[in-house]
């Protein structure tokens, strides 16, 4: 049963209102209003979030600075993610996964991003893109073969963008020529996240160029396939520990049984899955912003100038309160988009809004945090400048801000069709 549909009944039953700790403790029975606030979590979701929070603090935080400096994800960090069950959150227990819901993935991505957005994006891509595609579209044989590996030790990469096609994704030029029961793939991809560590690649190639985008097909390619070359990773401004590499396909042979879904339907799959992936990125940007904010406010409460805490200056208070409001708004947009998706309701516009807004809030928050920290915010000895560098990609990848806005506008236009 698809993880998305299954979580509908689970989430309805499970969204119990833990309204606020205060209320719950004042009354020994937990209050259950008919429409719980957005920031209500099932017991399972709360436990997961707390477990990941603790794990991230103890097993990831110590490595963050070095991973950023060296632009390398620590292998122990990656295996720890697998050990904790964070790489197969929605994969069913029958395939060795955690068997939880989309919302749990969102909470995990948010918590990881508070500590390291690079680690968060690795987890996000695996869960919201790779695992989702395979779970929803895979044949039983493909699922049996790949899902257990994805849950236990294999990182996945999603390969759509090329040097000449980013936002204009469907003008991709990588070709797949059919020969009997296999395809020969030629072309290249750029900006492929996780490529350094991935064991499996989902490659979008056009099997029928004459049909335009309706020829785009999704191929499952194992790392050691002949003809697959992984290029040198980019030297990036931010998210440096996340590997971003170009790929080349040189007469790469892929059997037709490695096609995911149907020939020529790849474009549909890409759009469908990116709609959900968008919410994952919103969660990542949200966590990034919150993590940065959480490092900064304690400093403003300690730092004394002119005889008082810099937090006590009205100018600072107003700025801090403004940013806190933006964070809350971003959180509600993200959580609501996630709950809408789980409930099987239309969520595309809301997902675009969440991603666009969270990326903006991340930029605002990190920029302000550096200012509030003053000189120390500008040094690498403090974690703030890293968040500032990491946030910028939020407005660019998985659909640029302009694309999000255009998509929203199209939907708004349709709403008024009457």
């Amino acid at each position: 049963m698809s993880a998305v549909c299954g979580s509908l009944s689970r989430s309805r039953a499970a969204v119990r209102c833990l309204c606020s700790r205060a209320a719950a403790e004042a009354h020994h029975d937990v209050i259950r209003p008919a429409f719980p606030p957005l920031q209500s979590f099932s017991e399972e979701e709360s436990m997961m979030r707390d477990a990941v929070k603790k794990f991230a603090q103890e097993r990831i935080a110590p490595f963050v600075s070095k991973m950023d400096e060296d632009s390398v994800m620590d292998a122990d960090v990656i295996s720890a993610l697998f050990e904790q069950g964070l790489m197969g959150i929605e994969i069913g227990a029958e395939y060795g996964g955690t068997g939880s819901s989309f919302f749990s993935s969102i909470l995990v991505i948010e918590e990881l991003a508070k500590v390291d957005p690079s680690v968060s994006v690795l987890c996000d891509i695996q869960n919201t893109l790779i695992n989702t595609l395979l779970t929803n579209l895979g044949t039983e044989e493909q699922k049996q073969h790949y899902l257990p590996r994805l849950a236990s030790d294999t990182v996945g990469s999603f390969c759509l963008s090329e040097s000449e096609s980013g936002s204009d994704a469907f003008s991709l030029k990588t070709k797949a020529e059919k020969h009997k029961d296999y395809y020969i793939i030629n072309g290249s991809k750029m900006w492929i996240s996780n490529a350094e560590h991935a064991g499996v690649f989902l490659v979008m190639a056009n099997a029928e160029p004459a049909a335009g985008y309706r020829g785009i097909t999704c191929f499952i390619v194992d790392r050691h396939t002949d003809g697959l070359h992984i290029g040198r990773k980019e030297n990036k401004l931010g998210l440096r520990a996340s590997s971003t590499c170009p790929l080349t396909f040189d007469n790469m042979k892929v059997h037709e049984k490695n096609i995911l879904g149907k020939v020529g339907h790849g474009y549909k799959y890409a759009i469908g899955m990116l709609n959900g992936g968008r919410i994952g990125i919103a969660a990542q940007m949200l966590g990034l912003a919150q993590g940065c904010f959480d490092h900064t406010v304690p400093y403003t409460r300690q730092r004394v100038q002119f005889g008082k805490r810099i937090f006590d200056f009205q100018g600072m208070q107003h700025q801090i309160a403004h940013v806190a409001t933006q964070l809350e708004a971003a959180r509600l947009l993200t959580y609501n988009a996630a709950r809408l998706k789980e409930a099987g309701r239309s969520f595309i516009k809301e997902a675009c809004m969440a991603k666009y807004f969270s990326a903006e809030v991340a930029t605002l928050t990190t920029s302000k945090c550096i200012e509030w920290m003053g000189g120390v915010g500008f040094t690498k000895d403090y974690p703030i400048e890293k968040y500032y560098r990491d946030c910028k990609i939020g407005a660019i990848y998985e659909g640029t801000t302009n694309i999000q806005l255009s998509t929203m506008a199209k939907m708004i236009d349709q709403e008024y069709d009457g």
Binding site: R21, A24, E25, A26, E44, A51, E83, G85, V108
Partner: protein, 259 residues
Amino acid sequence: MSARVLVGVKRVIDYAVKIRVKPDRTGVVTDGVKHSMNPFCEIAVEEAVKLKEKKLVKEVVAVSCGPQQVQETIRTALAMGADRGIHVEVSGKDYETLGPLQVSKILAALAKKEQADLIILGKQAIDDDCNQTGQMTAALLDWPQRSPEDGTFASEVNIEADKLKVVREIDGGLETIKINLPAVVTADLRLNTPRYATLPNIMKAKKKKIANVKPADLGVDVSSRLEVLKVDEPPQRQAGVKVETVHDLVGKLKEAGRI
């Protein structure tokens, strides 16, 4: 081995929270404050689960006394590997005055009811720092009690034949103690490093059972013999004073009435 282990877990204010005294000075603020499993209890659970993984015990049962919220704490123990839980319902005034004597009576009654062979508890709770429950429980049951740590470096707990074997580091080397089962063991900080509850285990924990029980069902009277008169913040640290000579020091001490 068919041994059954009872592990007590206490829900306490999280160690990282800044504690504040209530304005009426009857206790500390608990409303809206983050709570979690007592760190010593986490170590107790870890030790019990390790014994189960070594196939030395068959079943680990997590027990907690308190209101509805302690079920979260029991679930955490289940997510770490305990097999089932028992929630002893105590709420309101009874919960506020619940202390080691009542808890040890409850644990003793449960140990008999569940036919437990071993009870593992945290040495003390970080809220009241009593360090009494383990000892009292053992006394009530007339079982031996041991802290494998006892303030020295981490050691091992094992079950051989029908005895509990405890190895601990002492100044002169290693000391091995064998005590008869059934027994009570209290865990100190360096006994082990508690595992994280992995996400798959959190999911599995949802299916494990937590039984509800009232102290009256166990024949235990939870009324307290102690009354808290008042709770105060520790006195604020005063700034010190620097002196130049020993003569000045003596002078200051005399002034302060210390000598």
